[in-house]
Amino acid sequence: MNKRYQIQIIAEISILVAIAVVFDAIAGLFSPFKYGGSISPAMLPIFIIAYRRGVKNGLIAGLAFGIIQSLVAAGMGNFWFLSIPQYLLDYIVPFVLLGFAGLFNQALTKRSHFILGMSIGSLLRYLSHGFAGIVFWKDYAPEGMNYWFYSFIAYNLPYMAASFAFCLLVGLILFERDILKTNLNVQS
């Protein structure tokens, strides 16, 4: 049955990553921010993978999401590319880090773990975006504004906080209705 379990994981990651991409695209259409960053529930499917299938699969899902999402961004003409390290730190690493939400392995049964995992994942993503801002985009801070302040507070905090709150809200609804345990048969 080990084979079945692995196939299940692959199928689940694929579908949930696709859902994350669709969420992101839908949210992007109503985005209030002009230059990148939107209030989007796209992190939620990645968190769910991490909760259901552990950190490793969460990281893989994050990586897949980062790659596809940057392809979609390129297709929609909203892609900011300066160099390969910048691409990694802006588009790949933040989403991979979301997978660390899975460190809380009882997240599907304990509400505190559920909330903590999401907080950790979001915090790591926020830090990564913030550092990308400091390393690659500090010249673009408005004049007279400290670039640490610009990157961590002015640019990255509003949409990250809003996205986190939104994911948490939807996530808790799914949690309360026990939807997240669907098909979660224990490895046998």
């Binding site: 084979k3 969420f23 893989i60 899902a61 297709g75 300066l82 609804i173």
Partner: protein
């Protein structure tokens, strides 16, 4: 709802379309590294003309590449201005004294309003932006009636001009190269190429084949799921949900009425997919067969040689 465009692939039949995706990915990584080794404008201009020649050889439309540059345009202009304004080395080229006055403030406001108004027509946006910058320059330098205050001088140094051109050309080449890759390679081919290139990662426990499979399935299901989201939105709309209006609280409620069913369907669908894969005897981690196998042919060899030559040349130039 608009369709999602994945990647920038445009069907065509130039030289770059026939290349193996692996060759393209590796070459572009090496060419970019080589680009960062270059140190002066002459070398960069040569690199720039080489990339234009590459576009002509590949019979890629330059207009399409320029269109791909659009999102980064503001960035380019900003970089240019930033370098010109703040780099103060080398000889002084322009020293224009400027100051503010009531008449100049009023006319700056006036031309800004005029610029934003004209921008609504969405034509000649770039020329308008240039005209706006030039207008501000002229107003600050010459247009003074009545008392002036806050005098300052606008200085441009030789090094500033040089650096701004340098940085902008380098950005242009980088974007052109990556656009060539994404325009001529299908997302599925890109994944397949990455899969083969990431194979050595197996050492650290990452299975590149499974990963590539995940990406291909995701890419395949995005349109399906988008369709489904559309259907659910219509279904909820027929029950009275309104996704575009209402207070924030109502909006959130309606979006949740979209997200929850999507998750439920997703779990169902992934179970079905797993059944389908299992019944076709898919075994994770085992090699799979493909209809189209990647082939390394003569043009790939030429491209690799060309890349190696560029890379070697830039190292030599750096050392000298």
């Amino acid at each position: 709802m608009k369709n999602i465009v994945i990647g920038q692939f445009v069907p065509g039949s130039g030289f770059f379309y026939k290349l193996d995706p692996r060759t393209k990915i590796v070459s572009i990584v090496f060419l970019m590294v080589a680009l960062f080794l270059l140190e002066n404008i002459t070398q960069l201009l040569i690199a720039f003309s080489v990339s234009v020649v590459l576009l002509i050889i590949g019979r890629l439309s330059i207009i399409r590449i320029i269109k791909g540059l659009k999102p980064i345009f503001i960035l380019l202009i900003f970089t240019f201005l930033f370098q010109i304004l703040f780099n103060q080395e080398g000889t002084l080229l322009v020293n224009q004294s400027m100051s503010l006055s009531y008449s100049s403030i009023a006319s700056i406001v006036a031309i800004t309003v005029l610029w934003r108004y004209l921008a609504h027509f969405k034509r000649f946006n770039f020329l308008l932006l240039l005209a706006w910058i030039a207008g501000i320059y002229l107003i600050l330098s010459y247009f003074h009636y009545g008392p002036t205050f806050a005098p300052f001088s606008f200085k441009v140094y030789e090094k500033g001009v040089e650096m701004s051109i340098f940085v902008v050309i380098r950005l242009l080449i980088i974007i052109t190269l990556s656009t060539v890759l994404t325009i001529t390679t299908k997302p599925t081919d890109l994944t397949q190429g990455l899969e083969k290139l990431l194979r050595p990662m197996k050492v650290i426990g990452m299975n590149s084949e499974d990963f590539a499979l995940i990406i291909s399935i995701s890419l395949r299901y995005i349109p399906t799921i988008l369709d489904e989201a559309n259907k659910i939105m219509l279904a909820q709309a027929s029950r009275g949900a309104d996704f575009s209006e209402g207070k924030l609280k109502d909006k959130v409620k309606q979006v949740i009425s979209l997200l929850v069913p999507m998750f439920i369907i997703a779990f169902k669908r992934s179970e079905d997919l797993a059944d389908a894969m299992e019944s076709r005897n898919f075994i994770p981690g085992k090699p799979r067969t493909r209809i189209y196998e990647l082939k390394f042919n003569f043009s790939d060899l030429m491209t690799s040689l060309f890349t190696a030559a560029c890379f070697a040349l830039s190292i030599v130039l750096k050392v000298i």
